[in-house]
Symmetry: C2
Subunit: 273 residues, 2 copies
């Protein structure tokens, strides 16, 4: 038994879709969430900048006595997280590992699709992870940079004509490539899973990295006997921009009213605030 909290971070609030899955699968765990809303999005930035920000995010979470870190951010998970994970004495989980394992396990045709931010698609992290598990897999990738701003504008209704048109354009080549499994490689995408699913067709299996990671964490904590058997965990939220708008945005991603503290913090300058 280990009652210390789990630290979760993301470039912004999209990582709350992962928190939602953690709450479903591991309801007793305390969670400390950091959303780097002052610098969101990470998805168009260079690898060097992404890793610098990730280190700062983890350093903040480490101020609490946490037992594990989850990088809920698809961009961080595919841009060198393994390189820095070894620097810490607690396990660091990225959402890409469990998602890649699920894709390799679930595909029948061996044709796997991946959608994500520019940085996630530019990286070969998913390719490496999937091919290590199943070397004959064909991976078809597509960056979908407009999906995040569309979700953030609240355009998640499958009937929204702009969402529909953009999704049709982005997904055309994945459909043509006849993938049977599609990784939703960005925290925001589970919110438009219905639209993506309708366009890809019912025979294509969608993989939510947050959900797969929650399952992996459950297995791992059980193996280490490090779970928290509490009836209901506490959650604390930290952001790097104004905490004012947090409630509205967070309830979009958590699909529930936000309970727990929300505080603004600064990562950049130690002398600040």
């Amino acid at each position: 038994m280990d009652t210390r909290p789990i630290g979760v971070f993301d470039s912004g609030l999209g990582g709350l879709t992962c928190v939602k899955k953690l709450m479903d699968v591991l309801p007793g765990e305390d969670i400390i969430y950091l959303g780097d809303t002052g610098r969101v999005p990470y998805g168009g930035r260079s690898r060097e900048t992404i890793l610098k920000y990730a280190r700062q995010d983890i350093a903040f979470l480490r101020r609490f006595d946490i037992k594990a870190v989850v990088a809920a951010c698809g961009t961080v998970s595919t841009n060198g997280l393994e390189e820095i994970a070894g620097d810490y004495d607690i396990p660091v989980f990225g959402v890409a590992d469990a998602a890649a394992a699920a894709a390799a396990r679930l595909t029948k045709s061996g044709r796997v699709g991946l959608i994500g931010t520019k940085a996630s698609i530019r990286s070969d992290a998913y390719d490496r992870k999937i091919l290590a598990l199943r070397p004959d897999t064909v991976i078809v990738k597509r960056a979908c940079p407009l999906f995040v701003p569309l979700v953030e504008e609240g355009r998640i209704d499958p009937h929204d004509p702009v969402l529909r048109l953009v999704a049709e354009q982005y997904l055309a080549e994945l459909r043509d490539a006849r993938v049977d499994t599609l990784i939703l490689g960005c925290t925001h995408y589970p919110l438009i899973a219905r639209t993506v699913g309708e366009i890809m067709g019912p025979e294509v299996r969608l993989i939510d990295p947050g959900a797969e990671t929650a399952q992996r964490l459950k297995t791992e904590l059980a193996r280490l006997d490090a779970g928290n058997p509490a009836r209901r965990g506490q959650r604390r939220y930290y952001v790097t921009d104004s905490a004012e708008d947090f409630g509205r945005a967070a309830s979009l991603f958590l699909e529930a009213h936000v309970e727990g503290d929300v505080k603004r913090v600064s990562l950049e300058e130690k002398t600040d605030e």
Copy 2:
């Protein structure tokens, strides 16, 4: 005569549309440009964070011996730039002032439209500036958060169906309100001016804040006898994320091949790089 350079900053590379206008109008001036690409965009952030970043941007430009600062960023220009401008002993120009003056001068019906980022529209800076010059003006505003990601994805062709559909939706209420003047209140928007113009109709005058600011700077430098009579100014570019992608993106906004140095710098930590 004053041969010191002019400092120009923006949250990212969109401010290069303003540099282009400065180069056209004041070809002899040396320009130091800072694009805060490591933290772009500013448009969805809180006023407090925007001003903090703006101070850091100006502090960086001040390391050079500059004679004036131009905040090419629409978001900064409408979120308290006046408050911090007084802290410097050189003039600080925001793009909103000249644009507001042009709108007040050019509107015949007294009905002025404004489009911009969320933060620019949330602020009442344009309202205050225009109403101070022409108190009977009716101002109709609309945030257009998808325009920046659309431009950055290269969707600037007036025939692009997604751009068209989004622009039709955003501009409908401005057209219904029968404005005769429309301020393009974000650095990216001049690149989609043709699409905006086609939807608004030929009787609506579009105002490019970068172009208006270049004219104002010319007048002001002439008044102070502080112009640079050189035949052709030098330009130096600084970014806070990777300098690698700069050329491609910059040529989009400058509408020309980029000449001059491009360097990566850090604003956050003095000990960094």
